[in-house]
Structure formats: structure tokens, C-alpha cells
Assembly symmetry: C2
Homo-oligomer: 538 residues x 2
């Protein structure tokens, strides 16, 4: 028997009503080199309708991918709304990736149009010629002095916007329609696309509004420091628009001093960033009045308790951990202390507890799977691979990438993280099954580094492992066995990598060894290597 | 282009995981005449599986309606889960309705099995003979002395439960599957059923967890004083189970003293009731320590500011209004002060503001429609009929009741309430288009009362209007024009109604008049009548 409730989709056009009515005087503030610009949501909504008109004018078909290369800004926010609300798919690209990977991603997504911040134009303009799918490039002027190329395919955002015919009303969108695409490098091999639908984005935003998750409220001023090309800035822009919270966008000016200054000036109540950014801000918190701040979320990698403690000392607010992946929209776990234990904790215990990922959000189902495939008990002691299911979790990769191993036969996502879950649902990450390094919230593939290094004629074998790093969380360390008497040096390895991988992938430390420990099956025994290297370098 | 997220339904079985793992030690406490009983959610989950086994044992088909006549209790909570999770539909019946209406409702729903609290057995047992669809009656012993009839169709809940084979795992339920059925008398004519699906119930519960709505948290102890036969107790049981909050169920003991005592003893943080119940509790708040209380929601009718002020004086917490209907799951609006006005309000202004229904929840779209069908502006001054759309709003009535007038051609619900909406989204109800009286949170149909009165040979004509009442919010007042020299008295009208309508429908005041004011088209001019009577009786 079918229910008789209205068949209203969970889709992004439903946010327009709030922007145009209830929250029309709330605003988004963007930092630019020249100063900050605030725009009301009423005006943003009007610009979103115009931007959808621009996409019509450029003949972008329904379902086509619209690529964005942008910092966190009002214009990027307008893309977040206009592209999916008008039936296209917003593909946010991480411009920090290696040029070759960027070209691969734009090609794989078959982006039809690219929107690019002027400061990133040098990276993006060449794609017009190398990626055949790209027909137009729209430049968003973020105050950078980069010269605009004379190219009929290159347009100015504001010029197009003022000429556009605004879309009067967005048509109803089926909730399973694709809305956004984001590539993850958190896998081995080529980057893989995760294709979010309207339903998953709306449900994820609803989750962020919940009291026990981020509790995003109309009272909030939300600052997503996490880039908008990282899993929809962890869903925060959509959550803020849904709740009617103000937004503060750091723009291209990502210096820690400036971030602290904006947090203070805009009386930010909620901010989210990777641990590396929080660490960078520490020295600048001294005399900043952050009394408005109620929650500072750290994600994208482990949160050191010492960092949270230091942040708490300066602001009165501990950092709160969170855990998720590109494949999970991303939020799966959000740190909180369950009521059953809260009363027995000291303030410092609480800070420590909030450094764990915490319990799952209401829509995510978790399970732990032991090495032998059996379920591991949720007793806080047994460990297993963390697997996730839910309507905000990917079922497959874009283009059907042959990455079946990321999903179980019964449709759960294998996260590649090894965890424990305690009886109150608190998740702790204890290890990683995948061969990756998480540096400043970004993935680095050990396997790719190894392949590049082993391509050197003077190298016998090489293993790259993650070692803890105060600033970046983790950094890659290369253990290299040279061909005897080849004269290979650490510096020649680093020089070789330069130009072959992104600059920030290159290991600071390259250790030359006589041999590498192996497992019984002949694979590099990375766990053993990690243990010995961490001790040695500690 | 389709998204690639997992196809996981928003359905009630997803709550089981929380009950069995994270929240297994949280509990539901039920007040019974003999004392209170607390049961852990872990045990509740096991009993829910057993109860589903009972339904299998009784051969209740998928999609069949399972009627419940119960107070707020742990067993009723078990029905809330077991019935929909196993693919049946829970039909909660308001046992306070007139016997004839109850029989009509059970018949219209074609209930297969009825679950009844022992204290309500006298009302329900006759239905076994009068309603042919009902095959079994299961008695939940709430401590009442009512004798159990010797009837092979009558079973004891606990006996069935201990004999049952628990359902090991609930099958996945399509989210549009019917989950619950509730009849509203908030319409003219026969009661009409609203058939909720799993999706609407889950989405509604998610809404109640949001910071700007009820902010139900794992830290909460939630007491739904509103009956479980009233629109799923406003969704609170499902919200509490989703969040992992404790529940306090008042059971059959609904005296104000007892309610206050339980709130104190269980350190209730969140409670919800109609204004009449809050008013009744006022004199008993004197020495109660309600320091744990963070929110007290009033719904089901207008909230007088004076009541909220008095409540605030005794508890430090103002009452917060809410607005909804059986057709809307029910929550549409939840009182809160938007941030733009909050800073300029005194404490008393704030109490006053919270007596308005407030802004809509994130999934409800609102519009105001003026008399001429044009949209009324949301300026806080213009009034119009409030219309609602969203995935938690009914599209039709059960059985296709010919009540098309309740829905617009474009599929919005006509609420029958006349409202204003201000630029910050705050809704204020200013009038009612439907001819109904709301007494203590329950609807009374003026039209039905008029029909019954006009059936008296000594009555020429009669109109029933709502007049304000301190205790009940509104009460019906009958304006009756007798046949000249018939000797009709107010008392004879009241006597006539007795046995024809529910006792609490009978107007305390019957006014005999020489004639009734009419509109140009000859209808009773009720607005004029209301004005003159309110002045006269004030």
C-alpha cells in the first residue's frame, strides 16, 4: 500500500524560496585582495537566476558538466546553485592537482564550460586547447592581475550576467538527477569522480542542521575555510543557505592572519578547515576576539589533541573532529560526547574525546569488517575496516571506473580506514588499508610516487610511506634502494619527481636503504617500515 | 543524468540500528497507575522484533491496517516501530471520539487487528462485532481493572509476545510505502484518513532534530504529552528514537499533578502538549524543580501569551508555539525569533514572539492566497489562506474521500487557516475559513452540531460558533432560534445532543435568539455572530 503524501522532490531549487523571502537580507561576504564584498541572499538569488540564463545562452545542455576552478567566493556559491538548479552538473576541480591530473579530470568529466577565478587562469586556459569537450571559459574576476587572453571562447562572468535573461522559475528536478561531481584522489590509480544527486545533497545539508551534528542555524555565520572544490566544501554552503545562516568566504586570500582577521570581523560562529590550516592560524589567535565562535570543525585527516588543546586555550572552543570522504558527501561522523559519558569527563577529557571522529550522523549506517570478512564487534576494542551505507554515500564512480573493489557485493562503501566503534557509536580511526598519505587534507598516492621513483634506472626498488608531520598531519617518506654503486642521491630522486608529480607531493625525506622488508607474499612490509621509520625519524 | 549515490530508502527500519547499538542503554519510561516502568531501547528493539513476529503469527497481511487504541506508553511505542517496519500500517485511533465515529473510522480503515489498552477495552470490544474487518483484539495491560472478555479473538499482548518468534531482520521497505494512518476531524463531514509513508515520517523526524526546529538531541529526555493518536504524537517518538533521546510516556495517568511530577522525576528536557494541558499544569508548577526543561512546545491551537508568561514565571522557560495539521505530519511552523529581530527584543517581547507559530521548517513551502485567488504578499500585514506543500504534506485523503476542495489544482494543501507571513517568514494565524471549533487541541465540527440541533422539531434554525475559552482555547456556542411558543430551553437542546455527539462536543452555552444574522447569499453570518457573542459573553 502506497502512502498518500505529496510527491515533492528533495532538490536544490527548494532553497530558492528561502533566499528570496525569509533570508533575503542575510548575506555572503567574500574576501578579495582589495577588501571584502557583502551581498544579500536576495541579490544572490537574482544573480543565480541570471547565471542559469547564462548557461542557457551558452547552450549548455541538461546534464552537461560545468567545471569550476575557484576559491571560496560568492560567485562560486552562485555556481553551486545555478548549475544544479537548472539541471546541469557542477564539477568542482581541485586546481592544486598536478596539471596532467587536471587535464585528465576535465577530459574524463567531459566538461562543457569552465568557470575560473582570474587568479587561476594560467592553470586553466591551456585546457581550452587540450580538452576537446570544453567550448567556453568564463572568467570570474577575483582581483588578480592575470591578463585575459584574447580568445572568442573566453568570457567575463559579470558581462555575461548583466546581459543574461534570468530564469523565472526553476523546473522541478527529479531528486535522483545528478547535481555535482567531485573527483577524489583518495584511491590508487587515476582520480575517480563521485556524482552526487540532488537528493544526497539536500539530505546531507539537512543532517548538518541537526543539533547533534553541526547544528547550523539561522543565527550562525558560517565560514567554510575548506575549499569549495573539496566535496562541496563539506556541504556547508548548502547547509547555510538551507538554514539561512550568513556565509563568509575567504576568497583567494588564504593566509592564516587574514583568515583570523575575517573570523573576527564577521563574528564567525562556525568554521571548518583541515587541521593544517587550524595549526597555521594558532600563532595569530593571540589578540583576536573570537567570542562569537561556537564551533570549529576539523576534518580531512586526523586531529591531534595537542592542536585542539592549544586552540581551546586561545579561543575557549576546542576543535571538533569530523570524518568523511569524497564518496560520502562527505560527513559520516561528527565529534560529540554521548550523554552517558559526558558527566564524568573533565574539560581536558572532553577536548580529547572531541578529537575522535565521533558517532555517525542519522543517515549513515556503519559496520566494521574484520580481515576474515566477519563483522567485528562494536566494543571499542576490536578493529575492522570501516564500511558505510546510506543515501549520501556513493554506489559507484562516475563513468563506471573499474574500482569495484571500493564497494562490497551488498553495496556498502569500503572506506579503506581501519577503525573501532565503541558501544555508544563513537568511531576511532586506527589505521588505513589503502596505500595513501594524507597531507594537509589532500591525498597523495604512495603507489604513484613509487612508480615514478622506480622508473629511475638507478633505483632497484622503492616504497613510500606516510610519516606523522606536525604541520601537514602526514608527509610521504620515500625509502629507496639504489642500484649498487650507481651514485643515486636523495636529491636526484627529488629532482626526478619534480615536474612528474605535483610539487607538494615530493617527499622532503628520501632515505637510501640496502633493502626493504617484505611480507611473506613478497610485498613491501609497509607497516614494519612505517614503524621503524617513525621511530628513527622521531 | 542520474546521480550515482546509493539507493537507500528513508524508512523506519533504519532506526533499529541505533536502538540496538548506540542507544541500547537509553530508555523509555512509562507511567502506570502502579508506578513507572523503564525499559532500555535495547530491550525495546528485541520486543519490536517479537511484536513483528506476533503480526506474522496473526497472519496480518502486508499493507493491512493495525488499529491502536492506546495512551502514550512503551507498548504503543513498540507498535509505532513493529507495525510499519514489518510492512503493515499503524492506524492510531482517537478513543475520545464519539462511538459512532470510532466505528466509522475502524470500518473505513478496514483495520485487521486492534491493539487496545486495557483501560479502553469497554470502548473497543464492541467493535469486534460491529466492524467485520477486525479479526483480532490484543489487550495491552495498563493496570486498569477492566475485566477481560472470554472471547477467542481477544489476546493478551505479553502472552503473544513471549510466544512469538522474533523477526531477525526487517526487509528493506520502499520509502513510499504506507506506514501510518491517522484520521482528522478537522474537516467538515466524516473524519478523513491521512496516510503517511515511511519517507514522510523519516523526513519529519529529521526536521525535529534540527537546531532551529525542536533541536531534539541525544542529550534530551522527551515527554510527548500530546497523545500518540494525535498525528503520531507530533512525530516526537520517532524523532526521539532517531536522535537517541530518552522518552517519558505519561500512560493513562494524565492528571496535571502527575504530569508535573513525572517531568521533575525524569528530568524532562523537552515536552509538548496542547495549551489546555499546559494551563492545567500551571497551578502545580509551584515547587517543582523543572530546571532540566529546555523547551516546552504548545501546539494544536492558539497559544495565549498570558499562559506562556505565567509558565515562564514558574519555570524560566516560555512556551513555544507550533503549528500544523494531521495533513502535515504535523509540524509546519515552529516558533523562533529570527536573528535579525532577536537583539532588539525584551524578554517579554520574546515570550510574545514565541506565541506565534513562527517560520516554516525547511521542507515546507508556504504561500498565502487572497480571496480572489491571487498571491498575498509576505509583508506581515496582508492576509490570505495559508497553503502548504512539501514531502511531509498529504496529497489526498485515504480512500480517495471526496474532499478535493482541501487541495488546490497544483497540489497544495489548503489549510483553512487565514494567516499573515512577515518578511522573515514568521507566520501568524489570524482567522479560519473552515467552520470548526478547536477545543483542547481537538476539532469540533460546527456543522455537525448545527445539523443535530436543527433536527429538533422545536428549532427553526441554529448556528454554532467558536468562542474563546480560558481553559480549552475555544468552546462551541450554540445560537438557536426556537419555533415560537415551542417552549424550547437551552437545557433541552443540550439534553438532545447528549448521546448524539461526544460529551465534550456539547456546548456549555446555548443562547436562544429571535433570528440569526445572514449574509447576502442567505448563509449564517458567523463572523458577525462571533463578534456580537464574544462581546456579549466577554
Amino acid at each position: 500500500m502506497h502512502g498518500l503524501m505529496q510527491d515533492r522532490p528533495l532538490s536544490l531549487p527548494m532553497l530558492m524560496d528561502g533566499l528570496e523571502h525569509r533570508f533575503s537580507r542575510k548575506h555572503v561576504t567574500t574576501t578579495q585582495p582589495s577588501g571584502t564584498v557583502s551581498t544579500s541572499y536576495g541579490d544572490v538569488a537574482e544573480r543565480v537566476r541570471r547565471l542559469a540564463g547564462v548557461l542557457d545562452h551558452l547552450d549548455v545542455p541538461a546534464g552537461a558538466r560545468v567545471g569550476s576552478f575557484g576559491w571560496n567566493s560568492q560567485r562560486h556559491l552562485e555556481l553551486y546553485m545555478a548549475v544544479p538548479c537548472s539541471g546541469r552538473v557542477l564539477h568542482t576541480v581541485n586546481h592544486r592537482l598536478f596539471t596532467e591530473d587536471i587535464a585528465y579530470i576535465v577530459d574524463d568529466a567531459a566538461d562543457d564550460v569552465l568557470f575560473v577565478d582570474r587568479s587561476l587562469l594560467d592553470v586553466v586556459h591551456p585546457l581550452l586547447d587540450t580538452c576537446p569537450s570544453v567550448r567556453h571559459l568564463v572568467v570570474m574576476d577575483d582581483g588578480a592581475p592575470t591578463e585575459l587572453p584574447t580568445d572568442p571562447r573566453v568570457h567575463d562572468y559579470e558581462t555575461l550576467l548583466s546581459a543574461a535573461r534570468p530564469v523565472a522559475a526553476f523546473e522541478s528536478v527529479d531528486e535522483r538527477t545528478a547535481a555535482a561531481l567531485c573527483y577524489t584522489s583518495g584511491t590508487t590509480g587515476r582520480p575517480k569522480g563521485v556524482l552526487y544527486d540532488h537528493r544526497s545533497i539536500v539530505l546531507h545539508a539537512m543532517t548538518l542542521l541537526m543539533a547533534d551534528t553541526f547544528a547550523i542555524s539561522e543565527d550562525d555565520t558560517v565560514m567554510p575555510i575548506v575549499p569549495m572544490f573539496h566535496v562541496n566544501a563539506w556541504g556547508l554552503p548548502y547547509a547555510a543557505l538551507m538554514a539561512g545562516a550568513n556565509l563568509v568566504m575567504p576568497g583567494p586570500v588564504m593566509s592564516p592572519e587574514r583568515l583570523v582577521r575575517e573570523m573576527k570581523a564577521c563574528r564567525v560562529t562556525f568554521a571548518a578547515a583541515v587541521a593544517t590550516v587550524w595549526r597555521g592560524m594558532l600563532p595569530h589567535l593571540g589578540d583576536a576576539d573570537l567570542s562569537a565562535l561556537r564551533r570549529a570543525v576539523s576534518g580531512g585527516g586526523a586531529l591531534p589533541v595537542s592542536l585542539s588543546r592549544a586552540f581551546h586555550e586561545k579561543t575557549g572552543v576546542p576543535l571538533a573532529s569530523s570524518w568523511g570522504m569524497t564518496e560520502t558527501s562527505p560527513l559520516v561522523c561528527s565529534a560529540r560526547v554521548p550523554s552517558e559519558t559526558a558527566h564524568s569527563l573533565t574539560e581536558d577529557d572532553r577536548i580529547t574525546a572531541l578529537a575522535d571522529p565521533g558517532p555517525p550522523t542519522v543517515l549513515c549506517s556503519l559496520r566494521l569488517v574484520a580481515d576474515d570478512g566477519s563483522p567485528a564487534p562494536r566494543d571499542g576494542r576490536h578493529r575492522g575496516e570501516l564500511q558505510v551505507a546510506g543515501p549520501t554515500v556513493a554506489a559507484a564512480y562516475f563513468g563506471g571506473s573499474p574500482q569495484a573493489s571500493a564497494f562490497t557485493e551488498d553495496g556498502w562503501l569500503r572506506t579503506g580506514d581501519v577503525a573501532t566503534i565503541d558501544p555508544l557509536g563513537v568511531v576511532r580511526i586506527v589505521d588505513r588499508t589503502k596505500d595513501l598519505v594524507k597531507s594537509g587534507g589532500e591525498w597523495i598516492s604512495s603507489v604513484e610516487l613509487e612508480n615514478e621513483i622506480m622508473a629511475m634506472p638507478d633505483v632497484l626498488e622503492a616504497a613510500v610511506i606516510a610519516v606523522p608531520d606536525d604541520k601537514w598531519g602526514e608527509r610521504p617518506l620515500a625509502c629507496v634502494v639504489p642500484v649498487p654503486d650507481s651514485g643515486l642521491t636523495a636529491e636526484s630522486v627529488r629532482r626526478h619527481l619534480s615536474g612528474r608529480v605535483a610539487k607538494w607531493w615530493i617527499p622532503e625525506k628520501v632515505v637510501l636503504l640496502d633493502g626493504l622488508p617484505k611480507t611473506a607474499s613478497g610485498k613491501f612490509a609497509k607497516a614494519a617500515l612505517r614503524r621503524s621509520m617513525t621511530t628513527a625519524s622521531g
